[in-house]
Symmetry: C2
Subunit: 228 residues, 2 copies
Amino acid sequence: MAELTPATRDGSASARIAEGLRRAILSGEHRPGERIVQEELAERYGGSRIPVREALRQLESEGLVRLVANTGAWVQSLTMAQCSEVYQTRERLEPLLLRHSAEHLTDDVVHSLDELAQKMENSGDIEEFLELDREFHFATYRAEGTYVLRDLVTRLWNTTQPYRRAYTSLVDSEHMRIFHDDHHMLVSALRDGDLKLAEQIVAIHIRRTRVNLERHPEIFPPTDPNHE
Amino acid sequence: MAELTPATRDGSASARIAEGLRRAILSGEHRPGERIVQEELAERYGGSRIPVREALRQLESEGLVRLVANTGAWVQSLTMAQCSEVYQTRERLEPLLLRHSAEHLTDDVVHSLDELAQKMENSGDIEEFLELDREFHFATYRAEGTYVLRDLVTRLWNTTQPYRRAYTSLVDSEHMRIFHDDHHMLVSALRDGDLKLAEQIVAIHIRRTRVNLERHPEIFPPTDPNHE
DNA sequence: ACAGGACATACTGGATGCAATCAGTCCAGT
DNA sequence: ACTGGACTGATTGCATCCAGTATGTCCTGT
């Protein structure tokens, strides 16, 4: 699985646990709203509760976990409105990130993008599809220089991952067709060096997904403002 | 001081420490690159190192602190390129946030914005100016509904606060004039309900600040990629 | 039968103590 | 004089232990 972590800087236990739990949440092993018990994590990762708690704090700040004092931790769940907000944010940021990255895109990368888009089209498995989709888009975001924007976008992807999964599982083949077309068009635009067009495609691609998500309120928690 | 914290959800020691340290960093009490010693914080806030460490993890995730395993913690410092990236991000996001908020802006708020802009203009003190500026802009961001976007913008403001401070202290009165004009124009646009114009003003305002910041490389750490 | 309250349990929050790692210093060798 | 290496002090990372809080259950009273 590619690049789940915004910026891992140490190899200590708490970092290991944060990474493991992040992966577990993103892979769907833990679902939004699910309770997280410190001691279980401690045992699973072979440590005491101290590093577990530090990991939970970190993931809370990343928006993957929700902590309530003296009560416990849960996998973060988003209302439809919140999810929609994240997508609107992505719609503004990813074209910018793409612009920064595009100048560093080599022919090799464009070629591998093509392959990824093709592979995705032939993929039947949802989990595989999600991974490939992520890999595809982040392959276009290989900005040199600094990483603040890419880290930010990574987090936005992470917090909405469970809903992307839920949505993917019930989308029909017609919408999938459009989805794949977006990818191929993006590859073409990048190959032609038409940056402006590429930015537009990404923005529309994200907006399309948001609109589709908003057609499926049933994949979000009932009402509950939950988040504060 | 108004609204420094993205989302404080518990009143525990670690939350208190995170809030206190965040405030200390934003107020300039601790400068970028400065070493942070766990035990000193523990003593200062009257606790052990455990909640201090959790607070540090959180602030690291917020981009205010830099942790290196087995070595220590420092107040995060940004290169000019990173700071510039944050400003480009803000330039994309704050117009969006403003749009979401504007429909909830009452006449009272617009009136108080006017007062704030005036007060800022008469302010001689840098710290007071920084606070008022922040208060002013966030007064325009009082979105109802969810808060993910506002939290995000809050964090972006936080990470760049030290450089805003440094820059403010050496800007000349001519640039200040333009700065204040932006504010008054923004208030007018909001009063007239001209949302499109308001968005443009905010974007330009942020861009202007970024460009000015880029004219002062001396306020940033020498070269050092520092981050990773 | 139902509501209110006390108790028990399970879990979280935090303090102390110990092991491990890093940085800076001093000394020896070339 | 300068480089390389061992040593020491300081500081971090983690485990264990204890206290505090929330939740669920049972009992009592009406």
